[in-house]
């Protein structure tokens, strides 16, 4: 019998196809954004409590102050968010931040061109060291956790060698950057705006989509032609770059270098992202959530202060909030999964 004469026989498939034009799945979209919405709710709640206990919370001054307080964490967490969306983690940012501050504290001078040169060197160093992390992870097929733990330790040691104790000096004009104003708004708030714009642009670019796709499903991405090595190189390179940026901002707040200060940003950078709905398993999450998470973590400090309780309550409160947001996203995730089946 030839092919044409033979009737088509086919097994019954597992499921009937869904109809095409259905209304927009609002509930599904809401569930997708649930962790982010929970973070917004938390921030609103904290601001509400803070505002009721303290006068002058809803002013531009307060915004300027709080953004400056949060900006180092925000910069570090931006890099961390890129890495988390890739499905990895970067502990080495702690070492990079320390190293950045001690280089700045020992090399920055009153001469702007020397200082600018060293600032660029610090940023470049951040990218190169980060890219090296990515390269090691890819070529040696090692866990990001272990590789970046090791580089964290190495960078920390180098920072100690350069400047064994807190100190050095940062020129006043560099410190002044953080309080420079434009239209009554200080530079950290403008930086926040730039971060938001950066993410809006970055996520729609080829490399941004590729990083997200690789975090979502590495094998699929590979089969689609993605070079995993290149993705890792750029991802961790950017993380190092943002960590270096965080160091350059941090010295405007401390006015000195510290070989140990970076470790204070490692886990909070992850926490800020997780509170903001970024998945630790990769592929999902946005910087907007991370920035809100960073605000939440920073404002908890303020809240503890105005409540006149021991400052040791701050990490306790941070931990509870972290647990709550993880719980919220897992509940939403389950609900979303049940809807699909």
């Amino acid at each position: 019998m030839s092919a044409a004469e033979r009737p088509l026989e086919m097994a019954q498939g597992p499921a009937e196809m869904k109809p095409s034009k259905v209304a927009i799945d609002w509930r599904g979209r809401l569930l997708d954004r649930a962790p982010f919405l929970v973070a917004c709710l938390m921030l609103a709640l904290i601001i509400g409590i803070y505002g009721s206990l303290q006068s002058g919370v809803f002013t531009l001054d307060e915004l300027n102050l709080d953004t400056a307080a949060a900006m180092t964490l925000m910069l570090a967490a931006t890099g961390q968010t890129i890495v988390l969306v890739r499905g990895g983690i970067d502990l080495s940012i702690g070492g990079m931040i320390s190293l950045g501050t001690v280089i700045a504290a020992t090399r920055f001078t009153d001469d702007p061109s020397t200082t600018a040169l060293w600032a660029l060197i610090i940023l470049a160093l951040g990218f190169v060291i980060g890219a090296l992390n990515g390269l090691l992870i890819s070529l040696l097929k090692l866990q990001p956790f272990l590789v970046t733990l090791a580089t964290w330790s190495i960078l920390n040691g180098v920072a100690m060698i350069i400047l064994p104790t807190d100190g050095g000096s940062i020129p006043g004009w560099w410190v002044g950057f953080a309080s420079a104003q434009l239209f009554g708004v200080t530079s950290p708030v403008w930086m926040l705006l730039v971060l938001v714009l950066f993410w809006w642009w970055f996520r729609a670019t080829s490399i941004g989509t590729t990083i997200q796709a690789t975090g979502s499903n590495e094998k699929s991405a590979f089969l689609s032609g993605v070079s995993i090595t290149r993705v890792n190189l750029v991802t961790y390179g950017l993380s190092g770059l943002f960590a270096a940026g965080a160091a350059l901002f941090l010295v405007t707040q401390t006015g000195a270098g510290s070989p140990t200060i970076g470790k204070d940003y490692i886990l909070p950078s992850v926490a800020a992202a997780v509170i903001g709905g970024v998945s630790l398993f990769g592929g999902r999450g946005h910087l907007a959530g991370t920035l809100i998470g960073a605000f939440v973590l920073t404002l908890i400090g303020n809240l503890v202060f105005v409540l006149h309780v021991s400052s040791y309550w701050q990490p306790v409160a941070s931990g509870v909030i972290l647990l709550l947001s993880v719980l919220a996203s897992s509940v939403a995730e389950k609900a979303a999964r049940n809807r699909v089946q």
Partner: protein, 500 residues
């Protein structure tokens, strides 16, 4: 001139030869079916063509030019796209983002031009009369069948000259499968080459112009589709095995039912499986890979959840987890698929591996009796002829065959008399294979009831008393006596009409 011409293609993975002597040639404008048993080398072949893996030897010519893609991108640049069975889609991107992934239309800022992407998506879906899809929906919200359709759209978005469809119809409902066959013909009419892999003979018959048959990593035959019969194809797929590997099959089954399973279902992978396994019987489970065999074994062992009823030795039972499955003489024991990962602790000794899960048996008043343990271990090592220097030798240092014997020993020490053997001879040398088959028959003679899956069909044919053939999560047929043959199993697994 041939669009693709492959000669002497070979590929090894470590010590395993996946492809040794593959030849293949096909022209533009034809639908070319690729046939072969599981493990015949089809997957490796198309992975090489699509740039996912690199070949070790042999030559590929595309358009008369040497072809050796370094990665899937390079393959696409030469006009070759694959629709993989293991889908290449990204769960967290939308349908249209997936279709155009890495080829999105862009604006001057380097960002995705969403309007243009939507327009191109709709044009593509329209041109090939795609079943309804919502371009903006996130992929992880789609059913398996819908994902398969997106994968096809993604392949076509690259406007390939050669499109590889790897079992693309297997996940589709009837109507969509029919659409795909029509689409395949349309693509061939446009002058493209479609390389089509399917285990459904009817589909191959309906659309293929030519077909190439693979066996054991080599090409055995290529035919014009209308010049060859179904039986010839099946015979060529199986080939001839000459073996003195198998023990004599003596019927030892009694009338007593050891394990009865009714209406066993689990997700989409198992639906309504019914069977009865008798005392003294070796019941084979066969069929093409991925039709529910793994899920059946896992569910019976309590490793995954399933609905339906189970009776063990006449008593209704429910198995919620492996610990429940293991208990006592009325229990179930499993030889798992992944010997190194699930079955054995490689850094522990033979003794520890044997006795770890039955430590209660030689514990008296909370104290371990070393003599009792040693006696049991010695008995088991002797019985199974485990070739280890001492019982303290580390399991990881044994040969594959001896490791498998340790797992058998571990299973036998649980005293369970219903045994689930999932591919127990995989990666085991021929000599030990023979010993394992003999052991299975000996255990059956002692009244054990054995459920036996093998990815190697001749094993089922020569060792099992009966063979259940699974297809799409169901028992498609149960073969007995003279009906147990490779032709019978493959027939029931592939040819819809011959299913009992």
């Amino acid at each position: 001139m041939d669009l693709v011409s492959v000669k002497g293609l070979s590929k090894r993975y470590g010590g395993i030869v996946a492809l040794s002597e593959a030849t293949f040639s096909a022209r533009g404008g034809e639908v070319h079916a690729l046939l072969g048993e599981n493990g015949a080398g089809k997957s490796t072949f198309i992975q090489i063509l699509s740039g996912a893996v690199r070949h070790d030897g042999g030559s590929i010519l595309v358009d008369g030019q040497d072809y050796r893609p370094a990665n899937p991108d390079a393959a696409q640049a030469r006009g070759i796209a694959a629709v993989f069975q293991e889908l290449s889609l990204i769960p967290d991107l939308s349908v249209e983002q997936n279709i155009w992934f890495r080829h999105e239309p862009r604006t001057w800022l380097g960002t995705v031009n969403r309007g243009e992407m939507r327009r191109k998506t709709l044009a593509l879906l329209e041109r090939y009369d795609f079943p309804a899809l919502r371009p903006d929906q996130e992929l992880r919200r789609l059913t398996l069948a819908e994902r398969q359709i997106v994968e096809i759209a993604k392949g076509l978005a690259k406007d390939p000259r050669i499109l590889i469809l790897d079992e693309a119809t297997s996940a589709l409902p009837a109507r969509e499968a029919e659409w795909l066959l029509k689409l395949t013909r349309q693509l061939a009419a446009e002058g493209r080459l479609v390389i089509f892999i399917s285990h459904r003979m009817a589909e191959v018959r309906a659309i293929a112009d030519r077909l190439t048959i693979f066996r054991n990593g080599a090409t055995v035959a290529a035919h014009e589709a209308n010049a060859v019969s179904d039986n010839e194809i099946v015979t060529q797929m199986i080939g001839r095995h000459l073996d003195r590997l198998y023990p004599e099959r003596v019927a030892t089954a009694t009338d007593r039912i050891a394990l009865r399973v009714k209406g066993f279902s689990s997700g989409s992978r198992l639906s309504g499986v019914d069977f009865a396994l008798r005392e003294g019987e070796v019941l084979g489970v066969g069929g093409l890979q991925g039709h529910g065999q793994r899920e059946l074994f896992q569910a019976l062992f309590g490793a995954t959840r399933a609905s339906g009823a189970i009776e063990l030795w006449g008593k209704p039972t429910s198995i919620g987890n492996p610990r429940q499955a293991l208990t006592g003489r009325d229990g179930i024991a499993l030889v798992p698929e992944d010997r190194r990962g699930q079955g054995l602790l490689l850094t522990k000794s033979v003794r520890e591996n044997l006795t770890l899960s039955v430590i209660k048996r030689f514990t008296e008043n909370g104290l371990l009796s070393r003599q009792k343990e040693a006696a049991l271990v010695k008995a088991m090592v002797d019985f199974l002829r485990i070739k280890a220097g001492t019982p303290e030798q580390l399991a990881g240092t044994l040969s594959g065959g001896n490791q498998q014997k340790v797992i058998f020993g571990k299973m036998l020490l649980t005293e369970a008399r219903v045994l689930l053997l999932y591919d127990p001879t995989r990666g085991v040398d021929v000599g030990t294979k023979g010993e394992i088959f003999q052991l299975m028959r000996d255990l059956a003679a002692k009244g054990y009831a054995i459920l036996f899956h093998s990815s190697d069909m001749p094993e089922l044919v020569h060792v099992a008393d009966r063979v259940m053939v699974m297809r799409n999560g169901r028992i498609a047929a149960t073969l007995e006596g003279a009906l147990i043959s490779e032709e019978g199993i493959l027939g029931a697994a592939m040819l819809e009409t011959r299913a009992a």
